[in-house]
Amino acid sequence: MVLVLVLVVGGFVLFMFLILLAWFFGTYNVLVRMRNRVTNAWAQIDVQLKRRHDLIPNLVNTVKGYAKHEASTLEAVIKARNTAMTANGVGAQAAAEGELSGALSRLMVVVEQYPDLKANQNFMQVQEELTSTENRISFARQAYNDSVMEYNTKREMVPSNIVAGICKFDAKELFELKDEAEREAPEVKF
């Protein structure tokens, strides 16, 4: 009789323990998946920034033929690009990329004065690529922030915060631009 009781209670406890374990593993895996998504989204921003760097020589060459008097604007773009490519550290890189965005939008203002250039097939292609690249960069940042928000919410909410605490899932930082003006800047208008 006692043996049966012990078996039943023991079985029940074991059962509950297994359920708890399954929940723990499940939540752990969800957290890992979310964290990987954050890492991946961060890498995507770099990919798109590199795309922009690769595009600039092409842009500069196309503009050069038509706008010979704008050498200083073009040089500023090239300089900003080189600084951005060699920048180390998140802060320095963000500053250099901001500088590059500024230089690019100044160039685009200059381009407005050259109708021949604007009608050039080659330029129109580069322009579409540039617009798309600027969009990609801002969408990549947006996706990164969305994934960080999701991950942080999950690791703070009950009960998944227990798993996050035990297994040391650290909070991730949002990608934030210093001021609203800078947030608007990368949108290149033609």
Partner: protein, 413 residues
Amino acid sequence: MWEAISANRSKSIVLIVLMGMLLALLGAVIGGVFFAGEDGMLAGGAILGVMIAGFIWFVMTLVALFQGRNILLSISGAREVSHSDAPQLYNIVEEMSIAAALPKPPKVYIMEDKAPNAFAVGTPENAAVAITTGLLSVLSRDELQGVMAHEIGHIKNLDTKFMTIAGVMMGTIVILADVFMRGLIFGGGGRRRSSSSDKGGGQLQLILFLIALVFAILAPLFAQLLYLACSRSREYLADASAAVFTRYPEGLASALEKISANHSKLASANRVTAPMYIVNPIMKAHAGGNSLFSTHPPTNERIKVLRSMGGGAGLKDYNEAFTKICGKAIIGETTLRSAEVLKMRGITTPEPPQLPKNDIKRQTREATDILHRLNHFAFISCPCGVRLKIPPQFNKPICKCPRCGKEHPVKIA
């Protein structure tokens, strides 16, 4: 978005189980009529029927999972385009798959059709989006982005995957019911044989036969209702996703406006593929309203919801706008709790974009250029502003510009 998808998924599983039950029941009833043994052994026939139904479904699902995307794309006459064929379209699709954080950007297809429409197929890892030249030629960049965000929303929310599985089930049910009806007309062998045996069994068979008949008529109808019930709410959810991805609901809203202004039907669409398009390709936008049998919610209602998001672009904002207009919520509680309020990018008051006429002309030209490029035309820009389109059959070394008469050398491949 994670939560929205999982809520969606559990609802989809319920629907698929219901459809599966319907399929099994239909198989059992038909099997009972056709394969019942001499002594009225109903159970044996029913089990055989279920097994046959299951087998057909299994084979069709396998085919759909491995070849479904290609079958659908070839039915609709879509052709794949690369980045060099249609740079803007291709770029926009990549931008949106970055915003949606898809593991791989979908392939891009184009359909040569005047009716403005677009659809998506496949799983997030292996997806495709298709758009008609008619739609491509009327949309601005922002609007095209809205449309592609909606399609990628379908892929991200696993709607396209679900639609493939549910579509196959519906197809199986329709086929089974069809075969049964044909069997009755051209043979009815099983019934006649058993009615000539003993009287009691015959009567039972007759009752069963009537049940089967009613069932064979009703089952496809039920299946379609189930299929459509989820397709409508998914359209709203994809709209909400599009707003989240682009942070600019006005883009999709004005695209939908342009689409609903055009009433041409899509030649290649049918009843099974209809729910996959951005607007119903076979019914007129205003006809049908919000009935049980419509695949899509009324387009003007979708536009209204998108336009009353009040400067926000998150799921919460969409839900509020939806509640205001349709009187009920669309997005689940758990999803909203973890959803943040998102700001719209750029201008906060939606202003209907007024496109100059020549812009439409330019877009139409670009859309036809894509087709020309797909057909291996060569392009030569003449200094006088004319673009010469050289067909691949062209076999002379020199081509004269029709406007200024300048002669251009042509490279012959």
